[in-house]
């Protein structure tokens, strides 16, 4: 196999997503603001990537570009070798829990993306994912009757139900209280281990990133460049008081320029 072939058919190498020289400039009132500056990143199939960086650095912009909601000013994002041009049901973007539809029940929300499937299969998938995210007994409930954590699980279930091969999560647990957030991290890892989707997860919480990711991508302040990519070489379940965990976390904190003393 020649090297050019490997470039055009990245699936052979197990690459799911490839960002090639992605730059993004927002133009507003005749002023242009560079947000992303020459981002190059390879994400392997089934990998869990966390994007971290100072607030306002362009993490969400990068995620939106990867998901096809924004087009880069230059460069391209390729998924399975194809340039991403628009959002696609094969990769679902998960917002904070406010993204669930308040006019649909739990079942209605999970079944939202399944309109092309026969009814029997819809029912099976809904039942499967209701169970997977632990919402049994709430099938007929409306989001207003659910807690924040339940709504977030519902949104993840809605995304998983269409059997995507990638999930983009934009600070999904940001609005939850710290206990629920811890529980949700465990739930997400459990689901990821069961389904092995490729996950790209934006967070401003360094601990969250080190607890979840295979690799943590550290972005600089705006315009964002990739400052460092940190391999988290600790097996799950991770001991968050182990020396290696603390070393990796402190390394990232230092990289971002934060002292680890409050």
């Amino acid at each position: 196999m020649s090297s050019t072939e490997a470039m055009t058919v990245p699936t052979v190498t197990g690459t799911k997503l490839r960002a090639e020289h992605v730059s993004m400039t927002f133009k507003r009132d005749g002023k242009s603001t560079p947000v992303l500056d020459d981002i190059n990143l390879d994400v392997q199939d089934g990998e869990f990537i966390c994007l971290v960086g100072p607030s306002g650095c362009g993490k969400s912009t990068l995620l939106n570009t990867m998901a096809g909601f924004l087009s880069p000013t230059s460069g391209a994002v390729r998924i399975d070798g194809e340039v991403v041009q628009r959002p696609d049901p094969r990769r679902i973007f998960v917002f904070q829990e406010r993204g669930v539809f308040p006019w649909l029940t739990v079942e209605g929300n999970i079944g939202f993306g399944l309109f092309r499937l026969p009814r029997v299969e819809q029912k099976q998938r809904i039942a499967h994912y209701v169970k997977m995210v632990g919402l049994e007994g709430f099938e007929e409930a409306y989001p207003s009757e659910l807690s924040g954590g339940m709504k977030q699980r519902l949104e993840v279930a809605r995304a998983l139900a269409v059997n995507p091969d990638m999930l983009f999560l934009d600070e999904p647990f940001g609005a939850l209280d710290s206990i629920t957030r811890l529980v949700m991290r465990g739930e997400l890892l459990r689901i990821w281990e069961a389904e092995r989707k490729t996950i790209i997860f934006v967070t401003h919480d360094i601990d969250e990133a080190v607890q979840l990711a295979d690799r943590v991508v550290v972005l600089s302040a705006r315009p964002a460049t990739i400052q460092q990519i940190v391999n988290i070489d600790i097996a799950h379940p991770r001991d968050i008081s182990s020396a290696r965990y603390l070393e990796l976390r402190d390394g990232i904190l230092q990289q971002i320029g934060l002292a680890h003393k409050v």
Binding site: P87, D88, F95, F112, F115, Y142
Partner: protein, 260 residues
């Protein structure tokens, strides 16, 4: 009464009934003390009501008024909802149409009476046209604001799951805007009930509005005038309470801020 403490069950009924009784007493004694020969007392109004019921004209008038409101309100909703949704969906179209709408909207349907009579002559059609005008604009405005206020992340989710634009409108934007649309319909129904009375005074010879003006014109029967007024109030209240039942439907209740 303290606003922080939940009112007790008997209080919920006792105070409103007391105020009602005070209102009737004030009315009664004002009539007695001023010794007016024109304005009726509550008791005379009650007798007037019974007289109207005995003559069997009342039901006919009520049904005629309700029929006119139903036709006009129905037409306003049938036309206003699709137009409002379209304008909300295409902001460019809204910008083009908006100036004309904003000029027409504040014109009271009463001001349209002469025009309505030129178009439709004196009769049912003119009355229905006037009520339609009153109901149409609040419905369109509610639909436009309902659609343009749908959070963008709902539309994004729709796109992400592979819905076509038509599907996004039907499955995402419409249900998301529905609470606001219902609020607009409720306002429109209230206005329709206000306008039907005015329209019936001028354009037709049946209905509660006609009953008011006819009772005055044929023999200055102010007991019947006030009886008809009270009936208009009570029916208006029933219509509004009836419409509010729609807010309890579970797929729209989230939009009304009274979820448990």
């Amino acid at each position: 009464m303290n606003t922080l403490t939940e009112p007790r069950k008997w209080e919920k009924y006792f105070w409103p009934v007391l105020v009602m009784a005070l209102f009737l007493a004030l009315w009664h004694y004002s009539v007695v003390w001023t010794a007016t020969k024109i304005f009726p007392s509550p008791l005379e109004v009650e007798k007037g009501l019974i007289e109207l019921l005995r003559k069997h004209v009342l039901w006919g008038d009520i049904i005629d008024s309700l029929r006119r409101v139903a036709i006009s309100f129905g037409a306003a909703a049938l036309l206003g909802i699709p137009i409002g949704l379209t304008l909300g969906w295409y902001p460019a179209a809204d910008q083009v149409v908006n100036p004309v709408m904003q000029i027409l909207r504040p014109i009271s349907p009463i001001a349209w009476i002469p025009v309505a009579i030129i178009f439709f002559g004196v009769g049912d059609k003119a009355a229905i046209f006037l009520i339609f005008l009153g109901a149409y604009f609040p419905i369109v405005v509610a639909c436009v604001s309902g659609v343009s206020n749908v959070p963008s992340m709902y539309r994004r989710a729709g796109r992400n799951f592979g819905l076509s634009p038509a599907q996004i409108l039907a499955k995402v934007v419409f249900p998301a805007a529905l609470p606001r649309i219902l609020m607009g319909l409720r306002i429109a129904l209230g206005i329709a009930w206000l306008v039907v009375v005015a329209a019936e005074m001028i354009a037709v010879d049946s209905g509660l509005g006609y009953l008011v003006i006819d009772s005055r014109n044929s023999g200055k029967r102010y007991d019947l005038v006030v009886a008809a007024m009270l009936l208009i109030g009570v029916i208006g209240l029933i219509l509004d309470l009836g419409f509010r039942q729609l807010e309890k439907i579970k797929s729209v209740r989230w939009g009304f801020g009274n979820e448990s």
